[in-house]
């Protein structure tokens, strides 16, 4: 078991009334799974990913990650766990504009205090693997969307996470680029055993996954 959500409630209060973002949501994810989360806008896909990714909290319920209880864990410990095991891929890529491709990929290693020589080797491998060695000194605004997302995935993978959370990773890409990214995810999942959870609108993208979860109004409607 990689992670387990147990009866999670998350809400915001507006004008004295609660609006539920996650409503009694329970979910188990095994290591090595590839899960697609589908659902209309506002159904809670991003919220769910953020909760799983420990970027966001919740009001009620229990969250276990690798058999450790997350919701009452100290910030420092949680951050350590998170750095170690989780990588994020965003729809808008969210690369840092001021950094080159190389530096963007390197940054998570800096935060994990990896030694310089080792960083060089790891980033070098990653650039090789994604065929972007020639672009390592370019800045994000000099790349196409697909290339930027490749860098984003490379950055998410560099710290060898067990889990990749992807929030509409192909939302801003054309269908050809989109297929390439999905192929890549599938390959990562099958060959490297990385667990992947992606939120998506697209049926064809969802099909790459081994399992699809449908979300509606913060609850899982069909498994």
């Amino acid at each position: 078991m990689l992670l387990e959500l147990d009866h999670i409630y998350k809400w915001v209060t507006t004008g004295g009334r609660r609006t539920f973002l996650l409503n009694d949501l329970s979910l188990k994810v095994e290591e090595g799974e590839f899960i697609s989360i589908m659902g209309p806008s506002g159904s809670g896909k991003s919220t769910l990913l953020n909760v799983i990714g420990m970027l966001d909290g919740f009001q009620e319920g229990e969250y276990k990650f690798l058999d450790e209880t997350i919701h009452n864990m100290k910030e420092k410990h949680r951050s350590k766990l998170y750095k170690e095991y989780i990588g994020f891929v965003f729809q808008q890529y969210h690369l840092i504009d001021e950094l080159t491709v190389y530096e963007n990929i390197e940054t998570p290693l800096l935060y994990k205090k990896v030694k310089s020589a080792e960083r060089k080797a790891l980033v070098g491998d990653m650039l090789d693997r994604f065929n972007i060695v020639g672009k390592k000194d370019l800045f994000p605004n000099q790349l196409s969307g697909g290339q930027q997302q490749l860098v984003g995935i490379a950055r998410a993978l560099i710290s060898k996470p067990k889990l990749i959370l992807a929030d509409e990773p192909t939302g801003n890409l054309n269908s050809k680029q989109s297929d390439e990214i999905m192929q890549l995810f599938k390959q990562l999942n099958e060959e490297d055993g990385v667990t992947i959870i992606q939120a998506t609108h697209s049926e064809s993208n969802a099909a790459y996954a081994s399992k699809t979860i449908n979300l509606l109004d913060g609850s899982i409607s069909k498994s």
């Binding site: 991003s46 953020n50 990714g53 970027l55 966001d56 420092k76 951050s79 998170y82 750095k83 990588g87 994020f88 965003f90 808008q92 969210h94 690369l95 840092i96 504009d97 001021e98 950094l99 530096e103 940054t107 998570p108 800096l110 935060y111 994990k112 205090k113 950055r155 998410a156 710290s159």
Partner: protein, 798 residues
């Protein structure tokens, strides 16, 4: 990691060049001011550091009470020396009597130069740790030898060895140069000391011999060096009551001696009612505070611009957090940015200091060098940089690093209304300080202007004074008056024993009809010749001036209005003042006239009661000459010099314009005022620089809103108003805060002047109008630029 922080910081600086320039330049200005003030403060605190044993050097001071008011002075009576040497010799390493600082003519061959120095006892050289190049202190035991400073010796004798050479002092004494000492550098009392002459020669004068047993004759100075391990306060206690004990006559003045250490001579100069009451140390404090305030203003700019840009950087923060950055790491990153800015600013500040050091020295009358080689300076500087970086970087770092990543990344992040509040508070703080500084400076200036416009009591322009040194001028007043007036350059001339702009001596012991018992009266006292009233242009209120038509005038006096009030005389003319003991030296003086008050002391103080006595012996210290207005000043001066040289070929001709001498009374306040003006200007400039940055940020942030409003038909004026009114209202709030505070503080300050200007409303109006127009000028550039942008452009970028 550090390398990475710096790299990113560097790229951020380059990317936002405008903001970086404002930040760096603003901080550099602030740091330059603080550095400059720091150097000045250190220089002030290190005054007299030339003297190795400075913790043991002191001068004897005396408190004397007149009518319940205690006066503190460094003049002491001669018998004190004998008493100290006899009773307390073990407490002192050295004791030396000293004359007042005096200018003397020193003549070598045909040339005569004016030299500054004292007549002292041999121990004096040890007291001030004088460094001999040749000779030794004992030569001062010889009445015919003197010591010269290195520079004075060079001026007099050129490259020749001065030792053993003869020179003539004041056309009177033949002296031998018996020693040369190193010049005492600027920044120390006694700097500019040219000569030391033997006390024994000075003490040969009749009146000084007579003073040997006069405890009431406070006409000398005394310097001492304490013995090792003797406490200054202890010795002060021992000598306090010597005068009372030795001469019961003096007890009514309750005289008390005390030692005043050399450390305090420069910065603690004011005494009020016998208690130390500040002095230049107040300026040290004042400017230290101003230095930190100006730096704080610059730091506020940094904080404001950094947090204002937070929306732009929020995304970066969110991503960094999402890919694993901890809050600490983000704080470190933002702090490295502020460090980088501060280091650049510091380098620029050092450049500014180097550039402006010499004008600053001129303004503050100092010789400050940039302390490149001082280790402690660089250590302090390092701390200074760290503090500045923390001060300006800590708040933005904490603020930015605490963003919640989810919100930012989802794009729902907008800094709310509350987020701008601290920024507004800081802007208000900045402008409150700047406006308070403006008001303060205006009040100082108005006080100076007010005192300058105070009636002086005579015509200072077109009047010169010639200082007279030595006995060769005595008895020559009438002869010279005839000669000068015959030359046509001078319309009137009179002598006086004090310059008209100063009070050199005071005299007590007068009695008059109706004087209350035990009333101690102290008058400022000057001896003058005939035509003194006419020469100065004094207004005679009643009676007349000294006149050759009345032989009895040699026993007459003039008094001023204040004296008439002081003595409570309704009709003073014809009444008599008396002095001395009956049967010993009793003398009566008839009051023949009352003249208008003349400002001879501080232009801020009430005018002291004055007596002008007739100078029978023509032994004056100054000749006052009223120049002929029908000729050019140059022509007059050339003629006067020629006449002077004809009569005194061996004495150099020197003179002062009385109006310039009078203007010197304002030098100290004017120096403060011009420094205050500069710092106020800088504070305002720094504040406006920050405002400019904020305005450009706001204009940028509201680009879309402006575009929409324009499409809906808003005019440029509407938009200008829209963008300006927020800032203007902040400045108005600052005005409301600053005005009462500045009023209160300046009201306190101005109390120290007896003669003071009202703090008038127009000062606050000028400050308000000035601050508001500067604000408008600063923000209008951005507002108008935003307002005239083509709306299609700004809307398309969304």
């Amino acid at each position: 990691m550090i390398k990475n922080y710096i790299k990113i910081a560097w790229r951020n600086l380059l990317k936002y060049k405008g903001y970086s320039a404002i930040n760096i330049f603003g901080l550099a200005l602030g740091m330059a001011v603080t550095l400059m003030i720091g150097l000045w403060v250190v220089d002030e605190l290190n005054y007299n550091s030339y003297y190795k044993s400075r913790n043991r050097i002191a001068q004897v001071y005396q408190n004397i009470e007149y009518n319940g008011e205690v006066d503190t002075d460094n003049a002491i009576p001669r018998p004190l020396e004998f008493a100290l040497r006899e009773e307390f010799n073990d407490k002192f390493e050295d004791i030396s009597m000293a004359s007042w600082k005096g200018e003397r003519f020193m003549k070598v061959d045909a040339s005569t130069l004016v030299m500054n120095g004292y007549s002292v006892q041999p121990e004096f050289t040890d007291i001030i740790d004088l460094k001999f190049i040749s000779g030794q202190s004992e030569v001062l035991n010889n009445k015919n030898s003197l010591l010269l400073s290195k520079s004075a010796a060079t001026r007099l004798f050129g490259d020749k060895d001065p030792i053993g050479k003869m020179l003539t002092v004041d056309n009177e004494n033949q002296m031998i140069v018996a020693g040369v000492f190193e010049d005492i550098p600027k920044g120390n009392d006694f700097s500019g000391l040219d000569y030391l002459m033997p006390w024994s020669l000075y003490a040969d004068r009749e009146w000084i011999k007579n003073a040997s047993n006069q405890w009431g004759n406070d006409s000398f100075q005394m310097f001492v060096k304490l013995a090792d391990d003797v406490k200054l306060s202890e010795v002060s206690g021992l000598i306090a009551t010597l005068k009372k004990d030795q001469d019961p006559e003096q007890a009514k003045y309750n005289p008390e001696f005390f030692l005043w250490p050399i450390d305090s001579w420069h910065l603690y100069t004011s005494f009020e009612n016998g208690k130390q009451s500040g002095g230049p140390i107040e300026n040290v404090w004042l400017f230290s505070i101003i230095g930190f305030v100006v730096l704080a203003l610059a730091c506020i700019n940094f904080m404001n611009l950094s947090t204002a840009r937070s929306e732009k950087r929020a995304m970066e923060v969110g991503i960094r957090k999402a890919i694993g950055s901890s809050k600490n790491q983000l704080i470190k990153q933002f702090l490295s940015e502020s460090f980088l800015v501060v280091i650049f600013a510091f380098i620029l500040a050092v450049g500014l200091v180097l550039l402006f050091l010499s004008p600053f020295n001129e303004l503050s009358n100092k010789t400050i060098h940039f302390p490149w080689e001082s280790l402690s300076f660089w250590a302090t500087t390092l701390i200074f940089i760290v503090i500045t970086a923390l001060l300006s970087g800590a708040y933005p770092a904490l603020y930015l690093s605490s963003f919640r990543p989810v919100k930012v990344i989802k794009g729902t992040f907008k800094t709310g209304k509350m987020a701008a509040l601290p920024r507004k508070v800081l802007v208000v703080t900045q402008f409150s300080v700047s406006i308070a500084l403006i008001i303060g400076t205006l009040i100082v200036m108005s006080q100076i202007e007010f005192s300058k416009n105070r009636p002086i009591g005579y015509k200072t322009s077109g009047l010169i004074q010639i200082p007279l040194r030595g006995v060769s001028f005595w008895g020559k007043t009438d002869v010279m008056r005839n000669a000068f007036m015959a030359s046509g350059a001078v319309t009137e001339m009179a002598s006086s024993s004090s310059p008209s702009t100063e009070v050199w001596s005071t005299r007590s012991g007068f009695s008059w009809p109706g004087k209350p018992q035990d009333f101690q009266a102290d008058f400022s006292y000057s001896m003058v010749s005939y035509e003194y009233v006419e020469t100065l242009g004094l207004n005679v209120i009643s009676g007349r001036g000294f006149s050759r038509a009345y032989p009895s005038d040699s026993a007459a006096v003039l008094i001023n209005e204040s004296a008439a009030r002081f003595m409570n005389m309704q009709d003073p003319v014809g009444q008599t003042l008396a002095s001395g003991k009956i049967g010993v030296d009793y003398t009566e003086y008839k009051i023949i006239g009352v003249v208008e008050d003349v400002i001879a002391q501080s232009p801020y103080s009430p005018i002291k009661q004055a007596v002008y006595a007739f100078d029978k012996y023509q032994s004056a210290s100054y000749w006052n000459l009223r120049l002929n207005q029908n000729q050019s000043v140059q022509q007059n001066l050339a003629t006067i010099e020629e006449v002077y040289k004809n009569h005194f070929p061996d004495s150099p001709f020197s003179f002062d314009f009385v109006d310039q001498e009078y203007a010197k009374k304002f030098a100290e306040e004017e120096r403060i005022a011009s420094l205050a003006k500069i710092f106020t200007l800088l504070a305002m400039l720094i504040s406006c620089l920050g405002l400019f940055g904020l305005a450009s940020f706001v204009a940028e942030q509201r680009t879309k809103e402006i575009g929409v409003r324009k499409v809906l038909g808003a005019s440029v004026a509407n938009l200008w108003l829209l963008l300006s009114k927020d800032f203007v209202s902040l400045v108005v709030v600052a005005l409301l805060i600053a005005s009462p505070i500045a009023f209160y503080l300046m009201h306190q300050w101005i109390q120290k002047f007896a003669y003071r200007a009202d703090i008038s409303l127009w000062i606050f109006i000028v400050a308000a109008v000035g601050a508001l127009s500067l604000t408008l000028l600063t923000i209008s550039f951005q507002a108008i630029k935003a307002a005239i942008t083509n709306p299609v452009k700004s809307l398309r970028t969304e």
